[in-house]
Symmetry: C2
Subunit: 471 residues, 2 copies
């Protein structure tokens, strides 16, 4: 029996796609990686996934998981592989509001989890631009970050339990609903962020949080990055840690955004270099209840902090959203980054992280290097500044592979010299493998390879991703 | 050259202890596990540790790390092993207040880290009874929990980076100061909680938090556990998530505490079955500033929630601490648990966790089982109730190994039937290995064994701990 026949016996003919039928799955969002897979299989249950993996394992055929296909790093490139799409495993199985947990299938779309939590006045705080198509399986597999990490932590911190199908098809049950569970090695966090190279995530237990009763959102311009860190810390002090998002956009991003969306408005009348979108969100009534004088304490605290910093010369401009439409406008400007980045063609997309008190050093040092290497190169940054996570897009003046390598290495040099990471939240996939080979601690890389060999000895799980072959 | 001579060349004669000199290290806090090691070695640097491990690895001699020796699970039993004490690697290398991080050596005592953070008006929130002697290396190796997990998460969530000496003596640098770093597998969390079986933690980057400007602390008695969960959720709603501790003590614990500390006071005039110590802590001035009417909003919110629940019959008694001495008295009662547990001799010490909405079920089901198996057995519980983490001490009527096994399995049956864990925060060590063999998902156990074999093929790192040989 051929592999395809075996797969059809498991999921039925209509859920084994080949050739042109795979077009929807055969490329990721960036369009940089395209390959027709052997087949796309659409299981409906964990048992299906286990059966599919066993068949592929017996045939030593590569398996590539795919959920929303919103990877920015080539994580779902499926050449010569059976792709397993999680889209039918999209059940939101259980929400227990008192325990603040949701139990979901790997194919649940992020925004559908948001909606399900919202119905109980709760939030699942993981959010980013692709939330309407990204699925939780992919978000977990890449330890996706996004805009609310500053408040709620990254995906690892939002997940209590997992179910995983291993490379031999066995089902590993780590579906803990617990806040403490010290029973052996942390396999949950090993699987999260492994980009499907150690196993396929099929279900998860997620943490939910009380839904903020009010938000206060503002666009703020500051003279320099140390002022931004001061703004963050002052706001955290004033509100007791209620900063939900702290996002930086530079002047070029603001300009490109207006080019791409001509109906959009600029954030300020004047142009500024350091534009920050800040949002605070509160659940406590004494922060959110309308006061007799018509004010809301949370908004007053934000305005008070901004006013004080303006007096001190640490804030040069600020606009506080006066209604939900203005708040949405601020978010839309920031969340358009995925589209705005496509405006300029030759691009080095750096998803980097530095310690929060070294952002200033990063820009100072990289500008000095660029002045030597490509003085007319442009760069544009949007950043989850509260996490030190900078999406630093570099536009060299020539589209030349060697030149691009030199500039990429210059960015990595600066990042590493500050104790930073060449991959903050997008993961490694295929795109960042050269950086892994060059920059990751060699001892750590060797341990990763030995873990991969121990769990997936035949190298069938998303082969070729994450781990470079040589240093 | 003998092993001891080689070790003396690295650290000097005075830091290689043998025979009677090892008495301070040869038993843990419970006194259940005692063995004279080959030697206790006291390195002062990561390079020392690396050199020591290389020598032991060449001789295939077992290595057991020891820091504060406050394990409750036999994690530092050192028979036929070289024990490496981290006590001299106790430097608090750097505190960067703006970035909210501390960089410390593995031997830094928990309370010394607390003091260093306090000097900057920050807190390192990991705390438990043994904080005066427990060192951060051990706390990380066991993913220690404690009383503030409900607010700040477990040790994993409080650690940004690690330095680890691997079983072959290589130094793995994972000393990230970053809030986002998706560069390959999560080796940091693999090492945290591995109880020294995969490598020795030598340094760490820790997260710090703003120090609360005010606390409100109370003892509360509720009629039933669902009322306790309601109290937790109502208080979180009223304060916006400011609950720092939510600790349960049963009537027998309160009585035993008074027996052991005759000068102590009972929490209430009347006796209650469900006694809860709750603490909320706030950093925002509008929660903590003294109001014109002499009140503090945080205290008012706590009192208001308790008052409303009393009216509803969901709280039967409550005492709010009126000053710091009363607050300390409440904490001392709770933190005496480590001593109070020694009052009764024959004991099964269960460190279990259940989903927070299933605590009631746990007690109902275990009492039904005990009514069959040992109707006159007593039990006493203290609990990090906000995490579902129950220290369930069972005192059987006969000190008989088979009887104790039957009762232990009964507890595990109930815990597992509720989706709980047989080990919440104390780890596995030697004590919980039979439970690991019986109760851990078999597929997960096999993956753990393959990871151990890949990283420590000669099984020299804290051998015999965590992983049972057979299922």
């Amino acid at each position: 029996m051929t592999l395809l026949t075996q797969l059809r016996e498991i999921v039925g003919d209509t859920h084994v796609l080949t050739d042109a039928e795979t077009a929807k799955y055969d490329h990721d969002w960036t369009g940089k990686y395209q390959a027709t897979p052997i087949a796309v299989v659409r299981p409906v249950s964990t048992q299906d996934v286990s059966d599919i993996v066993k068949i592929c394992a017996a045939a030593k055929t590569a398996i590539v998981p795919v959920s929303g296909n919103t990877s920015l790093a080539g994580g779902t490139y499926g050449k010569d592989a059976v792709m397993i799409s999680m889209e039918r495993m999209n059940d939101i199985r259980e929400i227990r509001p008192d325990a603040r947990i949701a139990i979901v299938g790997a194919g649940a779309v992020l925004s559908s989890i948001h909606d399900a939590a919202d119905a109980h006045d709760l939030v699942f705080p993981l959010t980013f631009g692709a939330k309407g198509s990204a699925m939780i399986g992919g978000a977990l597999s890449t330890n996706a970050g996004g805009s609310n990490v500053v408040r709620y932590g990254s995906t690892r911190g939002l997940c209590l339990g997992l179910e995983v199908v291993l490379p031999d098809g066995q089902i590993m049950n780590l579906m803990s609903e617990l806040h403490k569970d010290n029973s052996g090695y942390d396999l949950k966090n090993l699987m999260i962020g492994a980009e499907g190279t150690l196993g396929l995530i099929t279900s998860a237990v997620l943490k939910l949080f009380p839904k903020p009763r009010a938000y206060a959102t503002a666009m703020v311009a500051v003279p320099a990055f140390p002022d931004a860190l001061r703004l963050l810390n002052d706001l955290q002090a004033a509100t007791g840690g209620l900063v939900e998002a702290f996002e930086y956009m530079d002047a070029l991003y603001i300009a490109d955004h207006l080019t791409m969306f001509p109906k959009a408005r600029a954030p300020f009348e004047d142009k500024h270099d350091i534009n920050i979108m800040v949002e605070v969100g509160a659940t406590a009534p004494n922060m959110t209840d309308l006061q007799p004088d018509g004010t809301i304490p949370l908004v007053t605290l934000l305005e008070g902090t901004l006013g004080q910093m303006m007096e001190d010369g640490r804030v040069v401009d600020a606009v506080v959203a006066q209604n939900d439409a203005q708040r949405r406008e601020m978010w839309e400007r920031r969340e358009a980054a995925g589209e705005v980045m496509l405006l300029r063609k030759t691009m080095i997309n750096n998803d980097i992280c530095v310690p929060v008190d070294k952002v200033d050093d990063f820009f100072e040092h990289i500008d000095a290097r660029l002045a030597e290497l490509d003085p007319k190169a442009l760069h544009s940054s949007v950043s989850h500044l509260g996490d030190g996570n900078i999406h630093f897009l570099l536009f060299p003046t020539k589209d030349d592979a060697q030149h691009i390598d030199i500039l990429t290495e210059a960015v990595e040099d600066v990042v590493l010299s500050l104790g930073g990471s060449f991959s903050a939240e997008h993961g490694i996939g295929l795109t960042k493998k050269p950086s892994m080979a060059r920059r990751k601690d060699k001892v750590a890389l060797a341990v990763m390879r030995s873990v991969k060999a121990a769990i997936d000895p035949d190298n069938i799980m998303n082969p070729g991703k994450v781990l470079p072959q040589t240093n």
